[in-house]
């Protein structure tokens, strides 16, 4: 049997944590891109387009992320793609993140006074220009705190990808625990690593919230 010293455990966990970080980043970037599309749908003038986006958001916010990951994992092969934990994890978390981010940003768009749109229109800007130059920059600015808050939630959510077989922090810790039989130490360390990743972001979100304009306080969604 291989003996694990304390530092062996820590080193292996930290190596695995790279994947947690990478997955979080990939899902956040992917989620932001898809979320932007969902946001466009959500604030569109057409009632049906709006409804589709609302349904999309309600679907992802009303079902467990674990189920979404399972569906991705077992659904991708039906589209002719190979079952691969990394693909399923990134895609699953991307769609999950897109729904939450779109909803957060919609709060920002809704909070802007009607006059911002009118002013844009009176300057002769068309719809897309108005969004790009006037509405979205302000909407992103006032929703920065909840966006960072959601990033924390996303980092914690990557833990679930261990269940569909993605080798991140939690899955590695399960393997180490099976070899060392020291669950107290191993899971304690895992919790500590997650804490070190998330706590600074939580504090940052809190600072943004306190400093940010009064509007963002009313829109804070954890």
């Amino acid at each position: 049997m291989i003996e694990f010293t304390f530092w062996d455990i820590v080193r292996n966990l930290l190596l695995a944590a790279r994947w947690t970080v990478l997955l979080s980043l990939a899902a956040f970037i992917g989620g932001a891109l898809v979320g932007l599309v969902v946001l466009f749908f959500r604030i569109a003038k057409n009632k049906w387009v709006k409804r589709i986006a609302s349904g999309y958001i309600a679907l992802f916010q009303g079902t467990p992320l674990l189920m979404q990951l399972f569906l991705m994992f077992f659904g991708l092969p039906m589209l002719g793609l190979r079952i691969e934990p990394w693909t399923a994890a990134v895609l699953g978390l991307t769609f999950f993140a897109s729904a939450y981010l779109a909803e957060i940003w919609r709060g920002g768009v809704d909070a802007l006074p009607r006059g911002q749109w009118d002013a844009g229109a009176s300057l002769g800007l068309h719809y897309l220009q108005e969004l790009r130059l006037i509405i979205l920059p302000q909407a992103f600015a006032i929703t920065r705190a909840p966006t960072v808050g959601f990033l924390v939630q996303l980092i914690k959510s990557t833990a679930l990808t261990s269940i569909i077989g993605f080798e991140e922090l939690v899955r590695t810790s399960n393997a180490i625990n099976n070899a060392t039989f020291e669950p107290f130490k191993v899971y304690g360390l895992v919790a500590l690593i997650f804490f070190v990743m998330c706590f600074p972001l939580t504090q940052y979100a809190r600072r943004l919230e306190r400093r940010g304009c009064a509007l963002s306080r009313f829109m804070y969604v954890d």
């Binding site: 679907l59 079902t63 189920m67 833990a159 899971y187 919790a191 804490f195």
Partner: protein, 222 residues
Amino acid sequence: MGYSLDFGWLAGAAGVIARGAAMTLLLIAVTTLAGTFLSILGAAGKRNGPKPLQLAIGIYVEVMRNTPFLVQLFFIFFGLPSLGIRLDPILAAMLAMTLNMAAYTIEIVGAGLDAVPRGQTEAALALGLRPRQVFVKIVLPQALKVIYPALTSQIVIMMLESAVVSQIAVRELTYEADMLQARTFRAFETYFVVTMVYLGLSMGLRRLLVSGGRRALGAGVS
């Protein structure tokens, strides 16, 4: 050759799915009651308790909010036995869910307590009520009314997150789905059906909580 969906197994599986859903509802019912009670104590302690207690509650909240629920669950179920505390899966799940939810609801309840005007406490004290009576009869009901929508969201989120406790073999909805798909070899269909059951549960639970809250706390609850 394309994949063809098959839902033929569904008729025979309805009972199992219903039993799993019942367990999920039991878990969230216990968690809601215990978690709310705990968070009222926590929020009150964080405001009026001795300094060390305030600090301890603050640390507890930060630790729970910045680590994944899955890791907390593993820590409680696999880690605590090495301290001589052995819990059966259902108890471990309830404990983990309650502790996790309380960390979020302590903040929510606290915000509610802060929202009750100071004059309410002063008036009640002037009428000769004892401090505990003031808290239970005057401040708390008003606070709960303010925070009820946020509390409702948190309960629904916790219900969705409870899917994770299948990993320690609690026979709830996700666990039954895992068993079903192993038997039917229809993984996508099984998880799809169960995801829809979760969607129904979360929408139903939200509606139930809103109408129940309106009855218990009076009008104005949305």
